[in-house]
Amino acid sequence: MQAPPLKPGGDPQIIAPRTPESLPELRSPRRIRWTRRRIALKRFWRQYRRSKMGLAGLAILIFFIGMAIFAVVADPSGADPSQTSGPVLSPPSREYPLGTDDFGLSVLTLVVQGSKISLLVGLTASVISMSIGATVGIVAGYRGGAIDTFLMRVTDFGLVIPWLVLAIVLASIIGQSLGAIILVIGVTSWPATARLVRAQVLSIRERPYIERARALGASNRHMIWHHVLPNSMPVIFANTILTIAIAILSEAALTFLGLGDPTNPSWGSMLDAATEAGATTLGAWWWIGAPGVCITLVVLAFTMCGFAMDEIINPKLRDR
């Protein structure tokens, strides 16, 4: 009995690098791209699943998205003040699990109906805000010089002008609709994001790997997409999540001023109505509490998902 002799350098079959010839027959480039994306998505999910915080956030989000979908399908007449039947300002009971408001409408129905508008406005407005803010910030920070000065003065202008005044003017130009509200919030809330992203890009721009990429012969576009953007993603991401909360509340303010569609209930307009009616002094905690907790939970859920994704995007936070 003798062990097989050890070959110096090990088994050549293990070491030999895979050559293009040994790869399976390549199909159409489009199918390869989709296969690769599916694999990347699977890997992403596998890593995401390990974060308890991320899963909790995702669960809350799915709950609220489900609520919004239900609101689209459900009969909205329960939120119509002309159809009221219940007692006014009743505390939570078996019939009205979250109590009623000053018209006798069920707060639960209002919260469910409101989730639709609040989520839609919160998400779309912050995506608009993030796109403008990130683009302005990256271009200004990366190009520098006159372009930077110009873009930053525009940003300062946006920061200095009272937000509400600008929003009212814009809303009166664009017209009164849900789309107008989303657009108005989106185009007025980007300046803070732009400033933060620019600051981050200014620091990234001076890092040696940018010089290395330039020495490689990389174009500006390549450098922005492959080096600047991935490194400023955490800042952009954190900001977007904060913007969602601001957008949900801004929608309330604009609706309250009569610039939105008052027949569509939202969490924000509920909060406004409750404050206006003096719900705190009346002791109607359920009326303020329900939409307040919903907004807090949605923002919290986005933050938790954000943390989990940050751990995947940022390889240093990833544990292996």
Binding site: P17, I32, Y209, R212, A215, L216, A218, P230, N231, P315
Partner: protein, 329 residues
């Protein structure tokens, strides 16, 4: 054509708020095919500035005069598109401080492939196979291509930088202080690797460092810089073991030879600091620190005089200079 790179009377002036600062003041240099030229000198003498000028990586307001010919083409007259195409395919750089020259959020394999993809030499799996073989070439297992920079040690990162420099098979590799941040053992390994690769692939290289002992081992020829000028050049071992310029002598003497009685108990250094590039001394710029300076030194600026076989030195004490010293330049 045997010359990969020729610098002809190159002057480089940095733009600052208080006016121009000449960092390089008239440098001629040639790198032949398959040759390693060592460039040595103290901090601020213009070594890295030359490296940056070859690929035109200096700040846009910097003034570069003279001609820099890479593969028969003048780099200074290239249009932006052509310049981008020449970067990394004509000449690549092994940067100092590999820790920071790698993007922390991308795997090292992606970053090595970056050069290949940017120059559209190949993409996808084909590029990955190339990255794998490059990594094996620098002594890392190819599976390390999935790792992120923080998962590698300093020496491994420097190996990645070397692999990256070789990715597009450039005609010239510029190693800009490739071993400064490494400890002595790893430094020796990395140097050995670079020497092996240079021989194996017949690379033409410029090797920049302040460590003269490193250059003697790796270079064929040496050029010693002081205050933006080459003060001595010639075959590496001759320049190191029988320096003609007092500055080279001081640099070489700074490395004591273990076991040599001459160095026992008295390490030799060079007093003073390198001159401010904005305010270079008159005549020979080295004269305020030179132990052998005499009355002509502050007034006559020495040229590079022939000093033995294939050697030149910019010192008035060189025999060939004595004939000309009477007639100031």
């Amino acid at each position: 054509m045997n010359d990969v790179l020729t610098l002809d009377d190159v002057h480089i002036t940095y733009h600052t708020s208080s006016g121009g600062v000449p960092a390089v003041r008239g440098v001629d240099m040639t790198v032949r095919k398959g040759e390693v030229v060592g460039l040595a000198g103290e901090s601020g003498c213009g070594k890295s500035t030359i490296a940056g000028a070859i690929l035109r990586l200096l700040p846009s307001k910097t003034k570069i005069e003279g001609t820099i010919t890479l593969d028969g083409e003048n780099v200074l007259e290239m249009k932006p598109g052509r310049l981008r195409a020449v970067r990394w395919t004509g000449a690549s750089i092994i940067f100092q401080g590999a820790m920071h020259a790698l993007n922390p959020v991308k795997s090292v394999g992606d970053q090595i492939a970056e050069a290949i993809v940017v120059h559209q030499q190949s993409a996808g799996r084909e590029a990955r196979v190339r990255v794998g073989s490059l990594l094996e070439q620098v002594g890392l297992p190819s599976r390390r291509m999935q790792d992120y920079p923080h998962e590698l040690s300093g020496g491994q990162k420097q190996r990645v930088m070397i692999a990256m420099a070789l990715a597009c098979s450039p005609s010239l590799v510029i190693a800009d202080e490739p071993t400064t941040a490494l400890d002595v053992m790893v430094q020796a390994q990395v140097l050995r690797l670079m020497k092996e690769l240079q021989r194996e692939l017949g690379l033409s290289m410029i090797f920049i460092t302040h460590d003269l002992s490193v250059l003697v081992e790796t270079s064929d020829r040496l050029a010693i810089m002081y205050a933006g000028k080459i003060v001595e050049e010639g075959p590496a071992d001759k320049v190191f073991h029988s320096p003609q310029h007092p500055y080279t002598e001081a640099l070489a003497a700074a490395f004591p030879e273990i076991g040599d009685d001459r160095f026992r108990g008295k390490p030799m250094g060079l007093g003073g600091d390198p001159p401010d590039p904005a305010d270079v001394p008159s005549g020979c710029s080295f004269h305020p620190r030179c132990p052998k300076a005499f009355e002509d030194c502050p007034t006559i600026e020495p040229d590079l005089y022939p000093a033995g076989e294939g050697r030149r030195a910019a010192c008035l004490l060189v025999p060939a200079a004595k004939d000309r010293a009477g007639a100031p330049a």
